[in-house]
């Protein structure tokens, strides 16, 4: 007996289809913009139209597109034989990472929520941050190779221009930033900025990963498209002088050694 799988994602009918209980053509078509569409697809939640610009802003602040950056470099290498889909697929696989990519946003969101719960329970800001860091580390903090994450700086500027910096999670983030900096020497990165901004428009911590993933597709797609068009020999195989072997030195196999010593038949495995 085959089990029936429940789904709330959608269903196709003859002339009208549904997505999370909403009619595609009779309800959504012409009435939601791209930001709302993305959030609906990743969370099942219909975002208020006035919050959609935040989604666009997040997509842009997450929009680093330099082909030399590792998650984008992988799409160039993977598309080197002319298939942009392979580039996109391998780019997506790389984001199955707890260190880099959309999963870091959910971890950062849970960290902010942990701090918020501590504050709600009456702890001082410092105590709430310390307790949360004891439990979870400091996800969303730390900026490699530079002093500040220019993406969260840009996002903060946008939210301020919209009057959205007064929303609770962004305010909390701004409040805890000097505490984390004092304790760990770590500035905030775009993961915690994304988490705060998304929660301030009604998304939950676990919504941050899939929504972040959707918003991060364009840089990977753009690189995969150009990479597939170029089909560069230089990425199909790096030039020999660009590969440095640091592994085991040359050696003879035990069976070859036997043959060398006059025993065995080197022609038969």
């Amino acid at each position: 007996m085959t089990a029936t799988l429940p789904t709330r994602v959608g269903i196709a009918r003859w002339t009208e289809h549904e997505l999370f209980g909403r009619r595609l053509y009779g309800e959504l078509l012409g009435n939601v913009d791209l930001g709302q569409w993305i959030v609906l697809g990743t969370t099942g939640k219909l975002l208020a139209a006035e919050d959609s610009p935040v989604v666009t802003a997040l997509a842009i602040t997450l929009g680093i597109i330099d082909p030399r950056i590792w998650p984008l470099k992988v799409t160039r290498v993977a598309s080197a034989f002319g298939r942009f889909t392979s580039g996109v697929a391998c780019g997506a696989l790389l984001y199955d990472s707890a260190t880099l990519g959309p999963h870091t946003g959910t971890r950062a969101a849970h960290f902010l929520c942990d701090v918020a719960r501590g504050r709600d329970a009456g702890a001082s800001l410092e105590a709430a941050v310390d307790a949360a860091m004891d439990r979870q580390g400091a996800p969303g903090f730390g900026v490699p190779f530079r002093d500040a994450d220019e993406r969260i700086v840009a996002l903060g500027g946008f939210l301020r221009s919209q009057g959205r910096d007064a929303r609770p999670m962004w305010r909390l983030l701004e409040a805890i930033t000097p505490v984390v900096k004092a304790r760990k020497g770590l500035p905030p990165n775009i993961a915690v900025g994304t988490a705060a901004a998304m929660m301030d428009i009604g998304l939950g911590p676990d919504d941050v990963t899939p929504t972040g993933f959707a918003l991060m597709q364009l840089p990977q797609l753009a690189n995969a498209l150009e990479g597939a068009e170029q089909r560069p020999a230089a990425l199909q195989r790096l030039a020999p002088e660009r590969v440095r072997y640091v592994g085991r030195p040359p050696r003879r196999s035990p069976k070859a050694t036997v043959v060398d010593d006059g025993g065995g038949d080197a022609t038969r495995p």
């Binding site: 029936t4 799988l5 999370f20 530079r146 440095r244 040359p250 065995g264």
Partner: protein
Amino acid sequence: MSGSDVGPVEAGPWPEALDARVLDPPRVHGYDLEEDVCASYRFTDAVYLAVTGELPGETESRLFDLACHFAAVMSAGDAAPHTASLARLCAAGDNAVVASAAVVLADEARAIVDAHGPLLAWLGGDGGGPAPEGFTEGAGGAAVIAAALARRGLEARGVDEGLTREAALLATLFASGVRTPEGLVAVLTWARLPFAAAEAFAVRPKAFAKYPMRVPPFAYEGEPR
């Protein structure tokens, strides 16, 4: 350095070459595949070398080869060949069919390895005692693997203790010397890939009417969240 054209990539002390730790053509882990390994070993031995860093002895080679045979047994309804078959059905290129199978095989392999963590710890431990709970199903689960081992005069700890088939397969690979999670994932994926792909390539592209759309059934719960 400063300026609008300079960023971390330009400014950083990045190395000028990619480090290679295993592959030094024609060598793998130091052994010449073409002149040495090819002359004296099976291809499964070369795979074993890649995964473990050393060539197998005769017993390890036979255990590994046997395990790979059993690993390759699968159903067309398993997720990996099913995924690849759907890609083929949708007329995706051969590359995408194979890649689709590889992705799901690797996911499945990782799920298997993760689920058998306590078993692998037991296999690697010094103590005795029975296999940990949850990996045995009494007589029958691994009987065909146990019988195959016995016919070849081979042994793998735990296989004769009523392990499940999956557990017995991992135990056999472990006995052969493939013991790391990444090694097990790599071997399970590699061993199964041609078979999953073969099932997919037998599908006629665009024969949509032949695909069981309602298997398994989905029940739409159309309430807005």
